[in-house]
C-alpha cells in the first residue's frame, strides 16, 4: 500500500513551489485546512494562484499568505467580504490579480477537471460580464456559455476522518468545496482530524475515495 501519511506538517506541504495553482477548501469557518495553510506560511513562496470561495479573512490563513506576498492571483466567487481586509487593500493597490467566478461555475469547473472533461455549457452568466470572451452556444433553444475546466497543481483540503489508504469522510457543512477540489489537483493534500484503521470507514459513506488523495496529515 502506498504510503500517504505525512509524519509532519512540514512534510505534508513540502512539495509546494513558487508559481503553483493551489485549491484551498472551506466555506466560512467550515472545512478550512487551517493547519496546511499555516504550514505553507513563512516558507517565502511567491506568485501562487489561490482558488477559494473567498479572498481571506482577518489576518490568518489565506489573508496571511497575502500579507506575506506569496499570492499573485486569487480566483474566487466572493472577494469583498467585510472580513477580507488584507485582500481589499492589496487589490486596490494593484498588488494582486483577481478572477471572480460564479460559485457554482467555480465548483463545476473543478469537478470537470477532475472528471477529465474539456468544459461544460452553463446558463449561469449568460448576458452578463461573466460571458465576455466565452463562446455562447444555443442548445434546444436555450442559451449557454462554455466554461473551461479548472485544474490545479495542488489542493489543500480538510476532512474529518481518514484511513491509511487516504479515503475521506467529512463533517456536516465542512464538506463544501473539499471533495471537488480533491478531484481537480495533480497533488492533493488532506488534513484530517482523526485517522481510523483500514476498514474503519464504511465504504458506503466514503465521500472522497483514496485515488484522489496523495498525502494526508492527521491534526488530532
Amino acid at each position: 500500500m502506498k504510503k500517504k501519511k505525512a509524519a509532519s506538517l512540514e512534510e505534508a506541504v513540502s512539495h509546494l513551489r513558487d508559481g503553483a495553482t493551489v485549491l484551498i477548501g472551506g466555506f466560512g469557518y467550515g472545512g478550512v485546512p487551517e493547519h496546511l495553510i499555516e504550514g505553507i506560511c513563512g516558507r517565502g513562496l511567491r506568485n501562487l494562484t489561490i482558488v477559494n470561495n473567498n479572498a481571506g479573512t482577518g489576518h490568518t490563513g489565506i489573508a496571511r499568505l497575502l500579507e506575506e506576498g506569496c499570492v499573485g492571483k486569487i480566483i474566487c466567487s466572493f472577494p469583498f467580504a467585510a472580513e477580507s481586509v488584507v485582500f481589499k487593500d492589496m487589490y486596490e493597490a494593484g498588488k494582486v490579480d483577481l478572477e471572480v467566478v460564479p460559485q457554482g461555475t467555480l465548483a463545476e469547473r473543478m469537478r470537470n477537471a477532475g472528471a477529465g472533461l474539456g468544459g461544460f455549457l452553463t446558463p449561469t452568466g449568460v448576458g452578463t460580464e461573466i460571458a465576455e470572451g466565452k463562446p455562447e452556444i444555443e442548445v434546444d433553444g436555450k442559451r449557454y456559455i462554455l466554461e473551461k475546466p479548472l485544474r490545479a497543481d495542488f489542493a489543500l483540503i480538510k476532512a474529518y476522518k481518514v484511513d491509511p489508504r487516504g479515503n475521506l469522510v467529512y463533517r456536516k457543512g465542512a464538506r463544501n468545496f473539499n471533495p471537488v477540489m480533491a478531484m481537480a489537483a495533480d497533488f492533493t493534500i488532506a488534513e484530517a482530524k482523526e485517522e481510523v484503521p483500514l476498514g474503519g470507514l464504511d465504504p458506503e459513506v466514503i465521500v472522497t475515495p483514496s485515488v484522489f488523495v496523495d498525502c494526508y496529515f492527521v491534526t488530532g
Binding site: 469557518y29 467550515g30 460559485q103 457554482g104 463545476e108 452553463t122 449561469t124 460580464e129 471537488v180
Partner: protein, 229 residues
C-alpha cells in the same frame, strides 16, 4: 442613466414587515434558497409546519433555524451568510458541485435574493455596482438562473434616492429575465410579460406614491390590496 425618484415622507415597512409579507408566499413543501443579507430575515416567519425545505449553497439541504443554546453552535454548520444554523430531521449534506447542480437543475421552487435593481423584464442586478472594477457574485448567478421563481427583496429606492425598480438595468446584470416578484418597503410587485404589476401597497401609501418612487411604469390591477403588515 440612473434615475432619482421621490420617496414618500411616510412610514415605510421595516425589514421584518417585508420579510413577513414575503414569507407568506413561500408555499408548503417548496425547496427554497435564501440569499445573504436582507432575505435572511424571512426565515423566522416561515412556520415549521409548512415544511419548507431551505437550501443553503454551501451544501445544506434542510437548513434549520439558529441553535437556541450557545453550546450548540457548530463551526461546521453555518449558513451561506456564515451565521450558525441547524439541520432539520431528514436534512442532508452535499458537496458544492452537487449543491449547485440542484440549483441550476431546477430543483429550487424559489430563491429569495437581495437586489440593487430589478427591471420590468425581470432582469436582476445584485453583484456589482455601476463603475466598480469588480464585485461579489457568490452563488447568486447560478441560483437566479436555476430557480423556478426569484423573489427579489429590497428597499424600493436606494439610500441615495436612485430608483431600484427600473425600466431596464443600469447596473451590470446578474441574470436576465428571472425575477417573478418583488417585495419592498413600499409594495409587492409581480413581473409579467407586460411589465411590473403593482399587487399590493404598504399601509398608508397610495399607488401614485409608489409609482413616483419607481422608474418603470407600474400596471394597476383591478383591485389594489394593502399589505397586511
Amino acid at each position: 442613466m440612473s434615475q432619482i425618484v421621490k420617496i414618500p415622507q411616510k412610514q415605510l415597512l421595516g425589514r421584518d414587515q417585508i420579510a413577513k409579507r414575503l414569507a407568506a408566499d413561500l408555499q408548503r413543501d417548496w425547496v427554497v434558497n435564501i440569499g445573504i443579507g436582507m432575505p435572511t430575515a424571512t426565515l423566522p416567519f416561515v412556520p415549521a409546519e409548512r415544511d419548507v425545505v431551505f437550501h443553503s449553497e454551501n451544501g445544506l439541504i434542510g437548513m434549520g433555524p439558529p441553535p437556541t443554546r450557545e453550546e450548540d453552535i457548530d463551526r461546521d454548520l453555518m449558513s451561506a451568510g456564515k451565521g450558525p444554523v441547524t439541520l432539520i430531521p431528514g436534512g442532508a449534506f452535499v458537496h458544492h458541485a452537487d449543491s449547485f447542480s440542484l440549483a441550476r437543475g431546477g430543483r429550487l421552487d424559489c430563491a429569495v435574493l437581495g437586489a440593487f435593481q430589478v427591471a420590468a423584464n425581470g432582469d436582476l442586478a445584485n453583484w456589482k455596482v455601476k463603475g466598480a472594477s469588480s464585485g461579489n457574485i457568490g452563488g447568486a448567478m447560478d441560483i437566479a438562473v436555476g430557480a423556478k421563481q426569484v423573489f427579489a427583496m429590497m428597499t424600493h429606492v436606494a439610500k441615495n434616492g436612485e430608483a431600484k425598480i427600473v425600466e431596464s438595468l443600469t447596473y451590470p446584470p446578474t441574470a436576465l429575465g428571472v425575477v417573478t416578484r418583488v417585495y419592498t418597503d413600499m409594495a409587492v410587485l409581480s413581473v409579467t410579460p407586460e411589465g411590473f404589476v403593482l399587487e399590493e401597497v404598504a399601509p398608508g401609501l397610495t399607488a401614485a406614491e409608489v409609482q413616483a418612487a419607481s422608474a418603470a411604469e407600474l400596471i394597476l390591477p383591478d383591485t389594489l390590496r394593502t399589505i397586511a403588515a
